[in-house]
Symmetry: C2
DNA sequence: TCTCCAATGTCAGTTTCCTTACAAGCATCC
DNA sequence: GGATGCTTGTAAGGAAACTGACATTGGAGA
């Protein structure tokens, strides 16, 4: 009774690995990595978020996120005040150039996602999403 | 119409990230990483496989795989001949100690997978697997 | 009020993985 | 037979991530 469910974990890894690779290829013309895109995307959903919170949403450490933010700041895609008005968190936001870059990136990424889901019906896609949510909830403790 | 399907990619990443973290925690007592486990697991499925092929199955480069194999060889969990009988590929196999370590690891990993799928019915789990297979096929070009 | 605690930003060091590159072996095609 | 191409193994260098540690800041509780 060794081979039971371990396939789902492997499938998860396989799908995620391929998705990441395809996104990386798609974003290459924009000089953006998948991590960069995730960062920009999240900054539009939650403008003014702290780097630490942004790191949690993107599944990296705050150290890695700060290094990545520094790159994006150098490229004028993201802005962050030098000092906080209150507390220690520095609210981070997209610059106009960052919004434009994100818009361009989003088109490419949605193309990849659409391709990934092209073999599934609307109902099956919804079922896949629900299944993944259930996995996340169960593992999130 | 910006927010459409990008959630599935994010969910995929979220689930995979949590699964990886939980597996890492579970395997820590055995002094094994998830990469180590994937390697051992695959070696039991395909004994005598080459390091390059093993790398492809595990979604890393062959350089990374060779580095990891060296660790496992040093710990006597894996064995590989110094020279190939034919061709250049060196057939890699599990040692008895490697099989025992894999057996112990498998119990822990299956516990994590079971937990991940605990909120889903048998039918829903099968549907999730089918959905992931469709994603892999569509992205595999 | 004072103390403790959690969260944030940051620095330093290490690990892991990838990219680039090259040599070796086998198969295929001319 | 000889050239070409594909796969494999290996080495060197760099990029990106993590872990551990510390100071700062605001809030919670005694």
């Amino acid at each position: 009774m060794v081979d039971d469910s371990p396939q789902v974990g492997y499938l998860l890894k396989h799908a995620q690995s391929l998705l990441h690779a395809r996104m990386e290829e798609a974003l290459k013309p924009l000089q953006l990595t998948v991590s960069h895109y995730s960062c920009l995307y999240r900054l539009r959903v939650e403008p003014g978020i702290s780097a630490s919170a942004l790191a949690r949403r993107t599944f990296v450490t705050r150290q890695s996120m700060n290094a990545m933010l520094q790159q994006l700041i150098d490229r004028d895609l993201v802005a962050r005040p030098a000092r906080a008005d209150s507390g220690r968190a520095l609210p981070t936001v997209l610059t106009p150039a960052g919004m434009r870059a994100l818009d361009a990136a989003q088109v490419l990424v949605e193309g990849v996602e659409h391709r990934m889901l092209s073999g599934l019906t609307i109902a099956e896609t919804a079922g896949l999403a629900r299944g993944l949510v259930a996995c996340v909830s169960a593992l999130d403790e």
